[in-house]
Amino acid sequence: MTTTAQSADESRLAALIVEALNLELAPQEVDPGAPLYRDGLGLDSIDILEIALVISKTYGVQLKADDADNARIFGSLRSLCDHVQQHRTK
């Protein structure tokens, strides 16, 4: 896996995700540019829900099912992190 460097926010989010989903890799191994769903990190729809729950708890950001931008938001750790940083309430 080609790993580009994670920003500080991305590292924190990656750590949250890895912990919530009990993934068998280190947070810094998550490629910030790779897709989260299916290929890339290989997550399924329940994993996406778990991520949404932990993001809501930690950052106060609600991820909605009918958001037209979901494909982009969950497109990578980087885009998810950008979305969270823009909308965070805590």
Partner: protein, 290 residues
């Protein structure tokens, strides 16, 4: 040999599609009694000519009864399957008046509805799914969605519309990134979300639980989801007893601190309990222990 995603209406396969279309046609035009006459030759046809379902039926009944089934018992297995498919036509048309229903455990559903935090309904390919809607009729305002694969959803949606266009059964399609976010939103709005939790699709992740004494693999998804979202879980089984009689069971599956594995074990235990009592209601006509 991973089978493509299929719901229980498409098993046993092929020839039954035509047979079922004939039943539905007769049912809608002539009524239940004449259509039921057709169940006899159809069941007989399956018993004689559908080798794979017959083998599956024999294997299942042998396990459930603890001895090889008699010829008549296998016939009854196919007949029960066909009868519930016929009755679906009437149940989807809200002709509950045609049936004698014994509803057991409806309080669990009422309580979950009153609590307003949504609820999971877990069923199986066992008995009639449509008859379990009886409880929805007692509970006006109850919003029920079914979680299923898109291909099935489209076909089932089309079938339901063909039978009763006014019926608004909502379907949450599986297989997209947002599927489970949608489930949560539906529950948050107090909705009920139904899932059939006995059948794995393709290489879906599974939990192995002893079933009738032999380890069998059940899909992880429904149990993981229920354990994650911590909503009430109600099991429902609509068991066909013959004639126009159904016995519908609603049972609360106590969550407590149960993880997915505990939930699955509890579900399988109850499924086994009911399946042993009404083995002819088992509608997985394939090698379930594969």
């Amino acid at each position: 040999m991973s089978a493509p995603p299929q719901d229980w209406t498409s098993r046993p396969e092929r020839s039954n599609t035509l047979a079922l279309r004939i039943i539905v046609w007769v049912a809608l035009r002539l009524g239940r009694a004449p259509a039921r006459v057709l169940l006899l030759p159809i069941s007989l046809y399956f018993l004689l000519f559908a080798a794979a379902p017959r083998r599956a039926s024999r294997d299942w009944l042998t396990r459930a009864l603890g001895r090889p089934p008699r010829w008549r018992e296998q016939f009854r297995h196919f007949h029960t399957f066909a009868a519930t498919i016929l009755d679906r036509v009437f149940l989807l048309n809200d002709r509950f008046d045609l049936f004698e229903l014994e509803l057991i455990g409806t309080d669990t559903v009422r309580e979950a509805f009153a609590a307003g935090a949504g609820c999971f309904l877990l069923g199986a390919h066992f008995g009639s799914f449509e008859v379990t809607r009886a409880v929805g009729r007692m509970q006006p305002g109850l919003d029920v969605s079914l979680l299923m694969y898109e291909t099935n959803a489209q076909r089932i949606g089309a079938t339901i519309r063909a039978i009763n266009p006014a019926l608004g059964t909502k379907i949450i399609p599986l297989g997209s990134m947002q599927s489970m976010l949608r489930v949560r939103e539906s529950l948050d709005a107090g909705g009920f979300v139904g899932m059939l939790a006995d059948r794995r699709l393709g290489d879906e992740e599974s939990i192995t639980v002893p079933f009738l004494g032999t380890p069998a693999r059940f899909p992880t998804g429904p149990f993981r989801l229920a354990a994650l979202l911590r909503r009430p879980v109600v099991l429902m089984f609509g068991i066909y007893l013959g004639g126009n009689r159904y016995q519908v069971h609603y049972e609360s599956l106590n969550l407590e601190d149960g993880d997915a594995r505990h939930l699955a074990a509890r579900y399988v235990e109850r499924l086994e309990h009911h399946a042993r009592r009404a083995p002819c209601n088992w509608f997985n006509f394939h090698d379930f222990w594969r």
